[in-house]
């Protein structure tokens, strides 16, 4: 049986930073375009959750047999992220999870390994591959124009009738001169000679795509879509010419609009190109970073791809609801590039683990006696009918309406100029919850009783010296 792509999803954060604001901040010549900037409560893990949820929309998460997570911006260097992402996505626990890290081609490498895993193991029929990056550029360097935040997911699965069928993959390993980030040492990317870096990039990615065409007796004219990683539009164009791709084959829109999102970039280029696929189109997706991977696919089911483009927010859906930042300072604040004392709450890794169903997987408790859905689990008696221990776990919805709220200026005993909206929300389908709101502009004017909100998984604080994640609410994203 063939292996292919069954579904996809993506996530782009709420904010777009015009590059001219960077230029203005440092009095540099500007380059055109904008880049995607995450909020202060986001990281590669939370964005991966968003992309994963988008990819699995309408699917039963219990049918997924594995999760591979690809990033260069892992939130822990010991402790994987894939298992927590799988937990939050409510996957089963008899699945395989792994992190693919330290390289910008980790995403394509994870796809190649997913193909291998599915082919080699009859019990593993699908693996969700999520690539996510949130790289911190050193302010006032060229990297600042490029580095952007985002995530994308591909559901790799076994089947002959999938939207995209994977025909082959090919990889190259190459120890290049840079860039790098030393473990436990560097906050920002280092490089020795950018011209050498560029040369390796052009050589390696050209070679990997050439080789996969050769292996499959294809010529550049046969290729309809080439979705390869790039962080420099000029080099991207040169590669397209060197490979003799026809006009429009090499996907090139994203750097200008959302920047260099790192690992998810090839996925996003593919997802964008698959909105209007040609019948039986041949597609190459390629990643680069100390070597390169090329994945060769063809469009099997155009209708299914069209359907996916409607049911997934994908890249375009998120782009529609991005908000352009008006000043550079917000970006600096979001990226935590300024050292500030931040409020640290008490925490307990044990409590977080014990409360996995409610805290991560978003389950509530339904009283079998009176039917009231309650959240979180507290005590053993129903707050409405007082029946003892009549609860059953129920999956809660991730949308609801504000019943009451406040804009809290006091956080941990410190006064904040910008208040945190605290919202009591009645969830669609039952359950009343209390959540902080994120990404709300002018809360004094915009937060209201009856307002519709949706949930988003965010980093809350660093209590007990680990990442404490939980859900927040946000205004509906278009």
């Amino acid at each position: 049986m063939a292996v292919g792509i069954k579904s996809y999803g993506a996530y782009l954060p709420r904010w777009l930073l015009p590059r001219e604001l960077i230029a203005k901040a440092w009095d540099f010549p500007s380059i055109p375009g904008t880049k995607a900037v995450a909020s202060g409560d986001e990281d590669s893990l939370t964005m991966a959750v968003e992309a994963g949820l988008d990819c699995l929309a309408g699917f039963d998460p219990k049918e997924v047999d594995g999760l591979y997570f690809a990033t260069t911006t892992q939130v822990y260097t010991e402790k994987d992220s894939a298992s927590l992402i799988a937990t939050v996505l409510d996957l089963r626990d008899d699945i395989i999870t792994a992190d693919f890290t330290d390289s910008l081609k980790a995403g394509t490498t994870a796809v190649a390994r997913a193909i291998d895993t599915i082919k080699a193991n009859k019990d593993i029929k699908s693996i969700l591959v999520i690539a996510s990056d949130s790289r911190e550029p050193e302010p006032s360097t060229m990297w600042e124009y490029g580095f952007a935040d985002g995530a994308a997911a591909l559901l790799i699965a076994e089947g002959d009738n999938l939207p995209l069928i994977i025909d082959d993959y090919y990889s190259i390993s190459a120890n290049v001169t840079g860039p790098w980030k030393r473990a436990n040492k560097d906050k920002f990317i280092r490089t020795f000679e950018v011209k050498m870096d560029a040369r390796f990039y052009v050589q390696t990615i050209t070679k990997v795509m050439n080789e996969i065409m050769k292996r499959n007796n294809l010529t550049p004219e046969d290729i309809n879509v080439a979705a390869y990683y790039y962080n420099n539009p000029r080099l991207h164009g040169r590669i397209a010419k060197m490979l003799k791709f026809q006009q429009g084959v090499a996907q090139n829109g994203l750097f200008l609009q959302i920047g260099d999102v790192g690992n998810p970039m090839p996925f996003m280029l593919l997802i964008t190109a698959m909105r209007r696929p040609k019948e039986e189109a041949k597609v190459i997706m390629a990643g680069f970073g100390d070597g390169a991977d090329a994945i060769l696919m063809h469009v099997q089911d155009r209708k299914a791809l069209r359907e996916l483009s409607k049911t997934r927010k994908g890249v375009a859906g998120h782009q529609k609801s991005m908000i352009t930042l008006k000043n550079y300072n917000v970006y600096i604040e979001n990226k935590k590039l300024l050292e500030k004392d931040r409020y640290i709450r008490k925490s307990s890794a044990v409590t977080m683990w014990r409360d996995t169903p409610s805290v991560y997987k978003w389950y509530g408790y339904k009283c079998k006696s009176c039917g009231t859905v309650q959240y979180p689990a507290q005590g053993h008696a129903c707050v409405v009918c007082r029946a003892d221990n009549q609860f059953e776990l129920v999956k809660l919805q991730k949308k609801g309406k504000i019943f009451t709220f406040t804009l809290d200026h006091l956080v941990g005993g410190a006064y904040l100029d910008t208040p945190v909206p605290r919202c009591v929300i009645d969830l669609d389908g039952g359950g009343r919850v209390l959540l902080d709101m994120t990404e709300i502009q002018k809360p004094e004017e915009n937060v209201k009783i009856g307002m519709e909100v949706e949930l988003t998984f965010r980093k809350q604080h660093e209590g007990a010296e680990f990442h404490n994640y939980y859900w927040k609410c946000r205004p509906l994203r278009g």
Binding site: K346, S347, V384, T406, L407, G413, L434, H461, Y470
Partner: protein, 395 residues
């Protein structure tokens, strides 16, 4: 069958409260010593006569156990218990003391309360680093209560100005009390212009964070006549505590308090206390009340929950003067938590001390004219713990 209730079984024979405020130069022991020794003096009892004591303390850094009292008084090994029940801690210490006397176990007991907040800094209640679940949102105290304000605005059409009127009244009353934390009158405009703390509650909608202590001496009425206040000791008519859901305090629809416009623990405690005291028309029968105005919205809701006015009418009744010190039911003649201050464990005892003095006609601040029956009320936790005590003049 149990002999229910404590009505007419306890007499308050002495009481004292410290000045409330920012006592930078005093610790909790200094404050508690001043209050307890003052109460002994007021009652005309020697500390050797005290047979048992209860002390209300909320925060562990003020004191962990009954030894907090022993360490300042050296009572020679009598039973002393720390009582903690959120903002009702002080009044619950009093309740325990009442039972000690009513049961016949002790003749003379001490109920007191103390809190030292300023050593932890003055911006908002301390402890948000020690409480709570790791990630469930932990709103500030004003944030929790402001959610009730948001709902009351929506349901009853109350406004920021209605809230401001509570602050203006309580600051006005407090300005006459030498022991109040804040002693300046304010205007509605001032209150409304103040910086937001938790929208819609601004700085003047929030009570003072204060240090302070208060103490009361209790005995049986038949023994009261042998002490200093033989002619004007005060009788406990009722005492009730109601504890309802603290968490989740955002109770789902159908549960008690789910509408955020009433605090069911207050309603229940009031019902129990009125029943015990035989009060059928609280608005008419209660002459003066110290109620828990941790936030201005709380006082408005209290009027309704304590049956001082009809549901939805609190703002209008306040505007009409019903709750002024010379109104139909004088509420917070001391200035309340808003102006007098709120050292948590002390507050319940301080209210009882204030109402005792009001009924004795010895109020240190504004004297409510002809006060014969008074009420004290606390509401603590996430709207979960309420206590109501009713006091009256002796027969």
């Amino acid at each position: 069958m149990a002999i229910k209730g404590i009505r007419d079984k306890i007499a308050i024979i002495g009481c004292e409260a410290t000045k409330y405020g920012e006592h930078w130069d005093k610790n909790q022991y200094d404050l508690l010593h001043e209050a307890t020794m003052g109460a002994f003096k007021d009652a005309g009892v020697k500390k050797e006569e005290i047979e048992a004591a209860w002390v209300g303390i909320y925060y562990y850094f003020t004191g962990l156990s009954g030894a907090t009292v022993e360490d300042i008084l050296r009572l020679d090994g009598i039973p002393i218990t720390r009582v903690e029940n959120y903002c009702a801690s002080g009044m619950d210490a009093f309740r325990n003391a009442c039972y000690g006397v009513a049961s016949g176990t002790y003749d003379v007991v001490l109920a007191c309360g103390v809190e030292k907040l300023m050593d932890e800094g003055s911006s908002g209640l301390p402890g948000f680093k020690i409480f709570g679940h790791p990630v469930l949102p932990l709103p500030s105290a004003p944030a929790m209560f402001s959610m009730a304000a948001t709902r009351c605005f929506h349901e009853f059409g109350w406004t920021k100005e209605d809230l401001a009127r509570v602050a203006v009244k309580n600051h006005d009353n407090g300005s006459y009390h030498p022991k109040a934390h804040f002693r300046s009158k304010i205007t509605i405009e001032q209150a409304m212009r103040a910086p937001m703390i938790a929208d819609p509650l601004g700085r003047f909608d929030c009570c003072a964070m204060s240090d302070g202590a208060a103490a009361l001496i209790l005995t049986r009425p038949e023994l009261a006549e042998s002490y200093a206040h033989a002619d004007d000791y005060i009788i406990v008519k009722a005492n009730a505590i109601s504890v309802r859901t603290n968490f989740p305090w955002y109770v789902p629809p159908g549960g008690p308090g789910a509408d955020f416009t009433s605090f069911p623990s207050t309603v229940k405690a009031a019902e129990m206390a009125y029943k015990e005291a035989g009060i059928t028309n609280p608005r008419k029968e209660i002459d003066c009340a110290e109620v828990h105005d941790c936030f201005t919205i709380t006082e408005l809701i209290n009027y309704q929950d304590l049956q001082f006015c009809d549901r939805g009418m609190a703002a209008e009744e306040l505007k009409n003067g019903t709750f002024n010190w010379d109104g139909e039911t004088a509420v917070n003649p001391s200035g309340g938590l808003k102006s007098f201050g709120h050292p948590i464990g002390s507050t319940g005892c301080r209210m009882l001390q204030e109402i005792t003095k009001q009924l004795q006609g010895r109020a240190e601040g504004r004297q409510v004219p002809d006060a014969k029956i008074g009420l004290c009320h606390n509401l603590g936790g996430a709207f979960s713990v309420a206590s109501v005590t009713i006091l009256s003049q002796r027969d």
